[in-house]
């Protein structure tokens, strides 16, 4: 098909929608079946191509939508059909889903390419070349699952993708499953993976319940059917809609790492850095935001539920931002920052500012992916420096196998090992600065526009949330400033940081693309132009939703910019002038005291969950299994009571009392008499057959004689 034709007549490519899933599946199958013979480059190329093709499909779908504003549903196959339950494998193409597809396909492809370089280095340091292929298989699987999630035409297909990405997250967090984050033999990574899956399952439980309520209320879980009937149901039984939306919120909290289920995301940093960037920053964790945005027609009906969602989002944004301040690991800071930013998005879509939330989702995908990948580049640089330093001392060349105690615990991700790296890794430094400024919301970077839109909407829709978010924004700028000072400025605090080397182009080029997007992403939805707003409204106008359109609010914009600059300034005052090392406490600790200890220890939420939920469950399970099921039910009740009673009945009662004393007493007496008789009669038994035969004959003769003579 000619390009001119595409642009002018706008033929539709909707039939391509299933290929969003097929391409990555084909890619992973090729790598599973033939990957054993492929070189790293080929494996990476196959996977990246598969992912790239999904982006192409997403773009074609976006072009096609210009002629079909209301969106299209492509039916692939019937899935489950029982009575009223009709579920299909059907792909929904509208502006909302296409936005997600483009983010997933686009950022996903960039990260695939980056990962070719990153994983080569990573497997080199961790001594297992076989993992390379596995990584790309998982990555393609993730793209497939994520595409199912965003393109599903009903809640259950969305749920398939929802759990599918959870699985990929599990597999990729536990990618280095035999070690911890410092490559020591340990179950830590595996435990982190399990934690992520199970925490997500708790959220999925909420999703599942929401789906069941929905089905019995609407007799369908197909988006359009539900949304059209929602008005009617909301008038009759508003409680049902509230229940659906709140149970769904539990699912959102699980996947998008909101209070109370956010605890898995920081641990998820155990996965390789491209995974943190793709799954745990840019795409998967935003699925919850997408879900609320998708369910806008439901949420808009129940302001009570909306308020709760917004508060949960706002509280998470602030809470996670405070924790980010107290972290030392470069990726952990970003992880908490992600939770916090997801809080912004959830608060936005919760308030009803769906466009703002989705806008922030898109820009966040750009700059947070950029930050994570740059952090990965930093970590690789430090590792290279670490090895370089070792090889200087150890010419035998196998330094990493015979590390001494000190280097055994060397953590290339700890910011207290870094410092002054703007000189050793200049490209990464500039990329990181761009990402940080975008995250902190400094004009004119992408984050400024999207965050500001959320804040502006919040002033109009929910002022409490605005306060929470504004403070969170202040902390955001502060912890990013702290990170920049600790990593890139000051003197190197470890020889590894001193010897760090810049990463190769395969790593830095995708980052430059992301950096460009982080700078220019704001252009998607400039105040007054509102390209993105119009784009998404194509989906929403179908349901006659009266969305609030916050105007650009100059006061809000100036306030937040001032706050951000102030925060960066304060961070310079505290961290910019002297470096933080392992020997001395964080300078902020001297100022904040116990509050900082709380931040440092993540407010002991993990410990709380262990004490309140996990340990009791384990104790109950052990008690049930050991005491109730085994000792009481199996050993005591069955073996003692049932089998014991039976044995007593048969052995003691029947056998020894009735049988032996009663019946046997009689029988034994009889037997004794018989024996006496028998002994006397036994003389007849000669043992000769002839004698017996003769007696038979005699008997016959006697009987016959009697009969004849009778």
């Amino acid at each position: 098909m000619l390009l001119s034709e595409v642009v002018t007549s706008g033929p539709d490519f909707f039939y391509l929608a299933p290929w969003l899933v097929f391409f990555p599946v084909i890619g992973l199958l090729i790598n599973i079946i033939f990957g054993g013979r492929f070189s790293e480059k080929v494996i990476g190329t196959v996977a990246s191509t598969a992912s790239g093709l999904t982006f192409v499909v997403a773009v074609l779908l976006a072009l096609s939508l210009r002629a079909h504003h209301e969106g299209v549903t492509i039916l692939l196959a019937e899935w489950i059909a029982i009575g009223e339950l009709q579920l299909d494998w059907a792909f929904r193409v509208d502006t909302l889903s296409v936005t997600m597809m483009m983010v997933v396909g686009g950022v996903g492809t960039l990260i695939h390419i980056y990962a070719i370089g990153y994983m080569h280095e990573d497997v080199r340091f961790k001594n297992d070349p076989g993992r390379f292929r596995r990584f790309f298989v998982f990555l393609n699987l993730f793209i497939a699952a994520m595409m199912i999630l965003v393109s599903g035409d009903n809640y259950l297909m969305l749920f398939v993708g929802w759990e599918g990405v959870g699985l990929c997250s599990f597999l990729l967090i536990g990618f280095w499953y035999e070690m911890d984050t410092l490559a020591r033999a340990s179950t830590d990574n595996a435990m982190a993976a399990k934690k992520a899956f199970i925490t997500n399952r708790v959220g999925d439980f909420g999703f599942l319940i929401a789906g069941m309520i929905m089905f019995w209320a609407f007799k369908s879980v197909q988006f359009d059917t539900v949304f059209e009937a929602a008005h009617h149901i909301a008038e009759l039984q508003p409680g049902i809609i509230i229940a659906i939306t709140l149970f769904m919120l539990l699912g959102v909290a699980g996947k998008s790492a909101q209070i109370p289920l956010f605890v898995w995301l920081p641990d998820a940093m155990a996965g390789p850095t491209p995974v943190s960037a793709l799954i745990h920053a840019a795409t998967m964790v935003t699925a919850g935001v997408y879900l609320v945005a998708r369910s806008a027609p439901l949420y808009m009906l129940v302001p009570q539920a909306q308020g709760i969602v917004a508060i949960v989002g706002g509280a998470t944004a602030l809470f996670a931002a405070t924790i980010a301040v107290g972290q030392y690991d470069i990726k952990k800071v970003l992880a908490y920052s992600t939770i916090s930013q997801l809080g912004f998005m959830v608060a936005a879509v919760g308030m009803g500012a769906f466009v703002a939330g989705m806008f922030h989702l898109v820009t966040h995908a750009f700059f947070k992916a950029l930050l994570f990948l740059s952090a990965g580049s930093v970590i690789l640089g430090v590792e290279r420096g670490h090895h370089h330093g070792h090889h200087d001392h150890d010419d035998h060349g196998h330094g990493d196998h015979h590390d001494d105690e000190k280097s055994e615990v060397f953590d290339p991700g700890d910011m207290r090992n870094m410092g002054g790296m703007r000189k050793s890794m200049p490209v990464t430094f500039w990329l990181y600065i761009i990402g940080s400024l975008a995250l902190a919301g400094i004009f004119p970077f992408a984050g400024f526009w999207s965050k500001d839109e959320i804040l502006a909407e919040a002033t109009a829709l929910n002022f409490t949330v605005y306060i929470l978010l504004a403070i969170a924004a202040f902390f955001t700028a502060f912890y990013m400033g702290r990170q920049i000072w600790m990593v890139f400025y000051g003197k190197p605090k470890h020889e590894a940081a001193e010897h760090a080397e810049e990463s190769p182009p395969i790593i830095t080029v995708p980052l430059m693309v992301l950096a460009a997007l982080s700078i220019l992403g704001g252009a998607l939805n400039l105040p007054g132009v509102g390209t993105f707003t119009h784009w998404l409204e194509m989906t929403y106008e179908k349901f006659d939703l009266h969305l609030h359109h916050g105007e650009f609010n100059l006061t809000v914009a100036i306030t937040s910019t001032v706050l951000a600059l102030l925060a960066i300034g304060i961070s310079w005052l505290i961290y910019g002038r002297k470096s933080v090392t392992f020997d001395q406490a964080d300078p902020l600790k001297r100022i904040l005291g116990p509050i900082f200890v709380g931040m440092e220890n993540k407010w002991w939420i993990d410990e709380l969950y262990w004490a309140v939920i996990l340990n009791p469950y384990i104790a109950i399970a052990k008690f049930t299994a050991d005491v109730i099921d085994w000792r009481f039910w199996h050993d005591w009740f069955h073996d003692k009571v049932i089998a014991g009673t039976f044995n007593w009945f048969s052995k003691t009662f029947l056998d020894s009392w009735i049988d032996q004393r009663g019946i046997d007493g009689f029988a034994n007496g009889l037997a004794a008499g018989t024996k006496e008789l028998a002994q006397r009669l036994s003389g007849i038994q000669t043992g000769f057959v002839r004698n017996y035969a003769l007696s038979v004959f005699v008997g016959v003769v006697v009987i016959l004689g009697y009969l004849i003579l009778q």
């Binding site: 003389g683 038994q685 000669t686 043992g687 057959v689 002839r690 035969a693 004959f697």
Partner: protein
């Protein structure tokens, strides 16, 4: 046609020979043959009476008897072989384990 009494007489003689054989001889095989003799004496009587009364039931009984005899011989010979393997003898007087 010969009268029935001739057949019955022959049958009685055969039966007596068989009975004496069982009672007198010690060789298990001979005893077996004697038993066969007795059975066939009975068969002869059956057939004779069946002919005389022009009824088929006697002849049917003969078939049963022949079948049973065949089975009995099979089992009996198997027993004798087994005993012979054990005792290297088929003298029935030596088989007196049942002596009281």
């Amino acid at each position: 046609m010969l009268p029935v009494s001739y057949y019955v007489g022959l049958s009685a003689i055969l039966f007596t020979i068989g009975a004496l054989g069982v009672l007198i001889r010690r060789n298990a095989i001979i005893i077996f043959m004697s038993i066969e003799l007795m059975l066939n004496a009975a068969n002869l009587a059956f057939v004779a009476f069946a002919r005389a009364h022009e009824s088929l039931s006697g002849q049917i009984f003969v078939f049963f008897v022949i079948t049973v005899a065949a089975a009995e011989v099979a089992v009996g010979l198997a027993l004798i072989v087994a005993i012979f393997r054990n005792k290297q003898s088929i003298d029935v007087d030596q088989m007196s384990n049942l002596k009281g």
